[in-house]
Amino acid sequence: MLRYIGKRLVLSLITLLVLATLTFFLVKLIPGNPFLDETLPPEVQERQAEYYGLNKPIYEQYFVYMGNLLKGDLGTSLKYQGRLVVDFIKEFFPNSSKLGLTSMIFSWATGLLAGIICSQFKDKPIDYILVFIAVLGIALPSMVVGPVVRYTFGVKLGWLPVSGLGDTWKQFVMPVFCMGIGSLSGLTRGMRATMLGVTTEDYIKTARSKGLSPFQVVWRHEIRNAIIPMITGLGSTIAGIFTGSFVIEKLFVIPGLGKHFTNSVTALDYPLIMGLTLFYGAILILGNLLVDILYGVVDPRIRVS
């Protein structure tokens, strides 16, 4: 087990390093220079370049950059002068993560439950209805669902607040639904398929012939074994939630990191874009690491191979 975790950890660290290096060199490729202003005398430009270390050879800049990253310095925003990228993260990430975690729990609980219901009532009307909804949910991206839901329940019916986060629980309902619907649908279909696959296994026959009640067979043997392969889907759920947050936070005017990311793209605030991208990348890589470890804990077969 330790060996397995160690291997995963090393791979994740290398991936992080590659991501950081890529970001650095890609930023260097962006044409233009922030201090290229013809009205400034060359001496001033030189001073600025020196101050920001831009006149040093590129490998030295690279080491400075990596050192700063280790210290948690992701750079300074261009648009909001003097504000560190880290401050943005500190201020706005809590909102995003609250929203993200809620919609993750929502999509997993509902998705798995719907999948189990489908598998128990295979080829019955309820199965068809749920599978149909799931197929629709996969086909409708959050930027389509979002505006429609917001207009219908927020503006037209007036049941739910259309913007903000943190005042009442009602503000969570629509964003969480819109962000979760995609992975919910995928999970429903995945859980249905694995549940149906598990039913034909020998240990289910054994459990039945022992005389266990149908409920116990489903609860203790089928569901437990069917959930294991679903854990690999956790990584893509996390990625999907982040993608969703860029769209949904902007749409529902939620003061989160996703909204700032989308805005920084429009404002061409390169340091902020790069810093946030790196931050998101690191979180996703760490998330995947945790998922891998969790998978190894739950399924001993994985550790060996």
């Binding site: 791979l11 994740s12 290398i14 991936t15 590659v18 991501l19 890529l22 970001t23 890609l26 930023v27 490729l29 962006i30 197929v135 629709l136 996969i138 086909a139 409708l140 991206p141 930027m143 389509v144 979002g146 505006p147 207009y151 503006v155 149906l196 990625a239 982040f242 993608t243 860029f246 769209v247 902007k250 749409l251 990311f261 989308t262 793209v265 429009t266 390169y270 874009i273 790069m274 991208t277 998101y280 990348g281 996703l284 890589i285 995947n288």
Partner: protein
């Protein structure tokens, strides 16, 4: 138990040797393609998905020519008009015809999705196939790189590349998708080739003295095709979604070119006032993704006998 089992009088007579005609082949043998087509036809949803997709493709190809307007000319006398007269889908906030823009946007979206799926897949398949077949150092080096690069979320890498290369260009979108798209194909094909290489029919072929190129072309390639088609039919809606997402956050197709994603983005800003501008591109995206998924499910069942239930 019933003890009085009655036998027919001739039950123990010897049968004539030919009575079963067991050497006769009852019906003409089915080829793989016929078999696939037969089981594909059985799934009505998949056929429906295929038909809808073909209809959409036809509309995307001929749609812009059916209208007398083009997708770029502004008409300031007709701004934000709901569908009327010659403007079958109405006009947008700049007085451009929505019908033409929706189909032109579809052209761009679908072109990006298809090209940005096929190119990296072809590359990944070739590289992965080589790695699996040759093995050794090449395999080790390439697979370690793939491991690391697959660890970086593709969305993050796409965003980075689009920021650096400059948004708004169709070519850069295809490049960005290609950089991330080949990884999965490479790993998948390698695994498949490794599996197939150990199978008996390959060994038989080798024993009979077949050359490497014959084994690759005749045995390995045809056997990977099914899985590849299925994966590609899953990757195309993914690419459509990614394009729409990038366009939505402002890193995708730039003006004046429309794409479904950018049309949705522009229209969602005026959704309350002019819902029709939002509805048409959304319906197109949803229909495309839906039919791609249905078609993909049908293809998977039809092409891969092991997955057939």
């Amino acid at each position: 138990m019933d003890k009085n089992i009655a036998f027919e009088q001739n039950a123990f007579d010897r049968l004539p040797p030919d009575s079963f005609e067991r050497e006769k082949i009852a019906r003409p043998p089915t080829t793989y393609a016929q078999d696939v087509w037969r089981s594909f036809k059985k799934r009505k949803t998949a056929v429906l998905g295929g038909v809808v997709l073909i209809l959409l493709l036809i509309m995307v190809l001929i749609g812009p020519y059916l209208s007398k307007y083009d997708y770029i000319t502004n008409d300031y006398t007709a701004i934000n008009k709901a569908p009327y007269g010659d403007h079958w889908f109405g006009t947008d906030t700049l007085g451009r015809d929505m019908w033409v823009r929706v189909w032109q946007g579809g052209r761009i979206s679908l072109f990006i999705a298809v090209v940005a799926t096929i190119i990296p897949w072809a590359f990944g398949m070739i590289l992965g196939g080589l790695c699996g077949y040759i093995g050794g150092k090449l395999d080790m080096i390439v697979m370690r790189c793939v491991d690391v690069l697959l660890g970086i979320p593709s969305m993050i890498l796409n965003i980075l590349l689009m920021v650096v290369m400059g948004a708004g260009n169709i070519g850069t979108l295809i490049i960005a998708f290609s950089v991330t798209g080949w990884l999965g194909a490479c790993r998948g094909t390698r695994g498949l080739v490794l599996q197939l290489k150990a199978r008996e029919f390959v060994m038989a072929s080798q024993t009979l003295g077949a050359s490497s190129s014959r084994i690759i072309l005749k045995h390995l390639l045809p056997n990977t095709l099914g899985v590849t088609v299925v994966s590609i039919s899953g990757a195309i809606p993914g690419a459509i979604f990614h394009e729409a997402f990038l366009s939505y956050i402002g890193l995708g197709v730039g003006p004046p070119n429309p794409s479904w994603g950018s049309l949705i983005k522009t229209a969602s800003e005026v959704f309350k006032e002019y819902p029709y501008q939002f509805a048409f591109p959304c319906i197109c995206v949803a229909l495309t993704m839906l039919s791609c998924n249905l078609l993909g499910d049908g293809l998977r069942d039809a092409l891969d006998p092991r997955l057939r239930s």
